[in-house]
Symmetry: C2
């Protein structure tokens, strides 16, 4: 997007709203994660595998963003956790106001984990804070190991890189070590997990990361 | 992106510049194509295969857009046609002004075909006219057959859909007929070619389409 003055105003208004959301998430001990990738890198599939793995009583909810359609919400509702689709109608990213509006009838005191699936776009979502505790970026092994260098902002701002579709590694010219090196050139020390949503390989590492984050939030909430 | 008043102004200024470019391309009989897709769908690979297939003397040039790096230009220069990288430095799309500026020292009278590779993004580039004769959208078979419905604008505005990475069809849950149906729900009658840049399968159909477009432009230029 263009760094025109109006956009700076939009961004600073977004930052203000996001700070409010972050404060509310902190108060209620809610871990909020903002999941970002290109279209078709496996965000919805990773959420399917994640919801599938969680016991029915867990206090988990999902907001899923798309330009058009509510396909993703329909896929995710099968797991019986609360899911809402945010249809942006052309806007290339989610923003804090959309999150605020869609949380109005979801009391945060009933939640421990809020998973936000952003619009499929490796560029614009990186500029819009949603009040999340962490951004997570997905990169599928079919997209090429150069992507962290070409789209550095989102790799710099994300706490975790999930390399997806590892089941396709035998069939694509993708150097997974080079991909990790490129990510860490942009973001030294970046955490990386490698998963196949299709076969389930590596999902355990992702779920362990998630569990660690959830425990950290609960500890902070108890101490606070 | 947000439909705020300033953005409308930016878009109408872009449309004005694009109309000027289109007029210049027409005058000089240059076919200009604007190639758009998600990151990693195979835009650069398709251009590699295309340049490789063209006789050395052809009057062809490439502009290739990225947020960061000039990797793509480096890959494409091997084929000895003029190539320039446009590094947008954060902007999520190419615009007509960038094209105008990068054409300043390329006399259009020396060109028959200008291939523009846009920034990897299925959303924002669809709003920015570059003066092209046609937009071309790529969708790789690893991205899911629902994408035309989720990102309708670019499928509606593109003359041709290139389904890429067909060599991976045996390994992914992708229904290629459903993908074509979805594209044609958004864009009735849309032309579709299916290619593998890796194996070369289907490239002939793409090259035939390109040749047909080039001949049409030449005919118009001769008549005019």
């Amino acid at each position: 997007m263009e760094r025109v003055p109006l956009e700076r105003k939009v961004l600073s208004e977004n930052d203000r709203l996001a700070a409010g959301l972050r404060e509310r998430f902190r108060e209620h001990g809610v871990l909020c994660l903002n999941i970002i990738s290109s279209p078709g890198s496996g965000k919805t599939s990773l959420l399917e595998r994640t919801l599938e793995s969680l016991p029915r009583g867990e206090r988990v909810a999902v907001l899923t963003g798309d330009i058009q359609t509510d396909n993703d919400a329909a896929r995710l509702r099968r797991f019986r956790f609360p899911v809402k689709q945010i249809t942006t109608g052309g806007t290339c990213h989610l923003d804090a106001r959309m999150i605020e509006r869609h949380l109005e009838d979801w009391p945060l005191e009933n939640l421990d984990l809020l998973l936000i699936e952003n619009v499929g776009n490796l560029v614009c979502p990186s500029s819009y804070d949603l009040g999340e505790a962490a951004k997570i970026v997905l990169l599928s092994v079919t997209e090429g190991e150069d992507k962290p260098l070409k789209y550095p902002s989102i790799f710099f701002k994300s706490e975790l890189l999930v390399l997806t579709k590892t089941d396709l590694l035998p069939y694509v010219p993708f150097d997974i070590d080079a991909a990790a090196d490129n990510a860490r050139r942009v973001h030294p020390g970046m955490e990386i997990v490698k998963v196949s949503n299709l076969t389930g390989n590596g999902l355990h590492e992702w779920l362990m990361w998630l569990e660690r984050k959830r425990r950290a939030v609960k500890t902070v909430a108890q101490v606070g």
